[in-house]
């Protein structure tokens, strides 16, 4: 099996893989600070180059044309997508890439089985290989199709969320089918319908069942839960690679895949904690529809004060500390540049400005930070929930734009609220709260927000971008 690298000791390939693994880990360590993060990404990419080139050089390539055509086509698609995507659309692109990783793993395990049980091949495969292949097929199939649906939802191609009676039974049925095919593949005991001469068909049946399961799992999940889904699919694409590593007996696949799996799972749990929901609840539950929608209007009538950009500019004029709380609505309205300009103006006039960012403010973990960074907000201005909450009492003005559930005080009061226990930004502790929103309509959780009725809250009704731009103009006028 030796290629161009013939003559080198057999350990050479393993050493190259070790070098790659070290580069991956070192690259991730550099991601702990924005200053070093770019370098870290390059280290990680270098690790990938080492691993792939070593593999290409080591193994005898019978069909180099096929291989290099594949590499070229993939590189072209990848760079085109990465170069053209809008930051707002980042979650669906990353979701799509996750899917490709998982899908590739599933295909590799399938091809490995095809070769193993090939014309001249064995009729019985080692149980470790078939188990690993079964795991790859299950995770890979779910990841590929689940990611496609998630990306479609984020892009607006697929209606969200879709609910139908008996959906959990259907999911269980397909999961059972996948497990059955997996067991047949692993044990290689003939089960009536699956009595093939080779066990390759059982593998494809497993992948098919996993694919349908992937679709069924993501279809009922709503847009605001996508941070969890994207993080989880990220973990799955890594675990699929790790499982492929077990099937191919390849060290760097196991190490790299596991790192990704760990990363994705940690992010998944951070996202779940940020909504005070369990993973099971996100995947199989969803907020119960209906709720106290009847009295939504009642709590607002006569209790809501509205304001104008002129008045807000006057408030800002005497403010010393301002916290801006952005929500996904800001990104939808493409208001981040106006918001960033306002922050820069305030800071130029000696006002302390902080962005208070809720972990689930965007459509994927850290999405809001990327949107703000692109609008030239320095990373020192971005504060996490735990850091910003104790500072609201010393804050003069809070500007909430495009956010709702993450600033809802009913999360703190009473078990009756669907968002009870969810960590929220305690904006009401500030002197004055300005909430920029189109209307009083409820957020994703479908519940009213008592914050809007507070004595220190003023509503700035209107489109996020228009209102923020008006605010920038007014503020500039008072500081001419």
């Amino acid at each position: 099996m030796l290629g161009i690298a013939a003559g080198l000791p057999p350990a050479a390939l393993s050493l190259a893989y070790l070098a790659a693994a070290v580069l991956f880990i070192h690259g991730l360590r550099q991601l702990t600070h924005p200053r070093t993060a770019r370098r870290g990404n390059i280290f990680s990419a270098a690790g990938m180059v080492v691993a792939v080139s070593a593999t290409v050089l080591w193994f005898e390539i019978l069909s180099p044309v096929v291989l290099f055509a594949g590499l070229l086509v993939g590189a072209a698609i990848g760079s085109w997508l990465a170069a053209t995507v809008d930051t707002t659309d980042m979650p669906q692109l990353v979701g799509l890439f996750n899917g490709f990783g998982g899908g590739a793993s599933a295909l590799v395990a399938g091809a490995e089985l095809v070769d193993l049980f090939g014309p001249s091949g064995a009729t019985v495969a080692p149980v470790e290989t078939t188990t690993a292949a079964a795991a790859t097929g299950l995770i890979g199939g779910v990841t590929f199709w689940g990611s496609l649906v998630a990306a479609g939802k984020l892009q607006g191609f697929v209606e969200d969320p879709v609910h139908y009676p008996g959906e959990n039974t259907l999911k269980t049925a397909f999961f059972g089918l996948a497990v059955l095919a997996g067991v047949a593949l692993v044990t290689q005991i003939e089960i009536s319908v699956l009595s093939a001469a080779t066990w390759v068909p059982a593998y494809w049946m497993l992948v098919a069942a996993a694919s349908i399961l992937g679709i069924l799992l993501v279809v009922p999940i709503g847009g605001a839960d996508m941070p969890v889904v994207i993080a989880l699919l990220n973990a799955c694409s890594g675990l699929a690679a790790a499982a492929t590593g077990f099937a191919l007996d390849n060290s760097v696949l196991i190490v790299a895949g596991t790192l990704v799996g760990a990363s994705g799972l940690i992010l998944t749990f951070i996202m779940c904690e940020s909504m005070n929901r369990t993973l099971t609840n996100v995947l199989f539950g969803g907020y119960s529809a209906g709720g106290p929608s009847g009295d939504v209007a009642d709590i607002y009538t006569g209790n809501v004060m509205s304001t104008s950009p002129e008045e807000v500019a006057m408030l800002l004029d005497v403010a010393r500390r301002v916290v801006i709380v952005p929500g996904y609505g800001m990104a939808v309205g493409q208001a981040q540049h106006a918001v960033a300009e306002l922050a820069a103006l305030l800071e130029a006039n000696g006002v302390e400005v902080v962005f208070g960012i809720h972990p689930v403010a965007g459509r994927m973990p850290g999405h809001m930070n990327v949107l703000l960074a692109e609008a030239n907000v320095p990373y020192e201005q971005m504060a996490e929930l735990e850091a910003v909450n104790p500072t609201f009492s010393q804050t003069d003005v809070v500007i909430v734009t495009g956010a709702n559930d993450v600033v809802n005080p009913s999360a703190l009061s009473g078990e009756s609220s669907p968002i009870a226990g969810m960590p929220v930004l305690h904006v009401w502790d500030a002197q004055t709260v300005i909430v920029n929103k189109r209307s009083l309509s409820p957020g994703y959780a479908g519940i009213p927000n008592p914050l809007f009725t507070y004595d220190n809250t003023y509503m700035l009704f209107g489109d996020a971008r228009e209102e923020m731009q008006a605010l920038v103009t007014e503020y500039k006028d008072t500081h001419r």
Binding site: G40, V66, L93, F97, N98, A231, G366
Partner: protein, 93 residues
């Protein structure tokens, strides 16, 4: 390598991953996902082996598709991560 050695790698890598990832600030979570996403494209080396070995036409076709998908994942993931990280500037930058 045997199954037990592979399992050892898996468990140790999981601990290393936990230690490293928990230290990454929320600000960088999107580039982290894009970057780890690219790392999960490591399955590309598996694709390279099956696409290149080409013991049967079916395996070669599957390998080709796997190479395309994994390369898209790797190249796209790193580039997108790089693009985002380039925008993260401090006050001085």
């Amino acid at each position: 390598m045997g199954f037990v050695e592979n399992l050892t790698l898996f468990v140790l890598a999981a601990f290393v991953g936990y230690e490293v990832i928990t230290k990454i600030p929320a600000t960088l979570h999107t580039p982290l996902i894009a970057g780890t996403n690219a790392i999960s494209g490591i399955t590309l080396i598996g694709s390279v082996v099956v696409a290149g070995a080409g013991q049967s036409t079916l395996a070669t076709v599957l390998g080709f598709l796997a190479v395309v998908m994994a390369t898209t994942n790797v190249v796209g993931g790193y580039l997108v991560s790089h693009r985002m990280l380039r925008r993260f500037r401090g006050r001085e930058g």
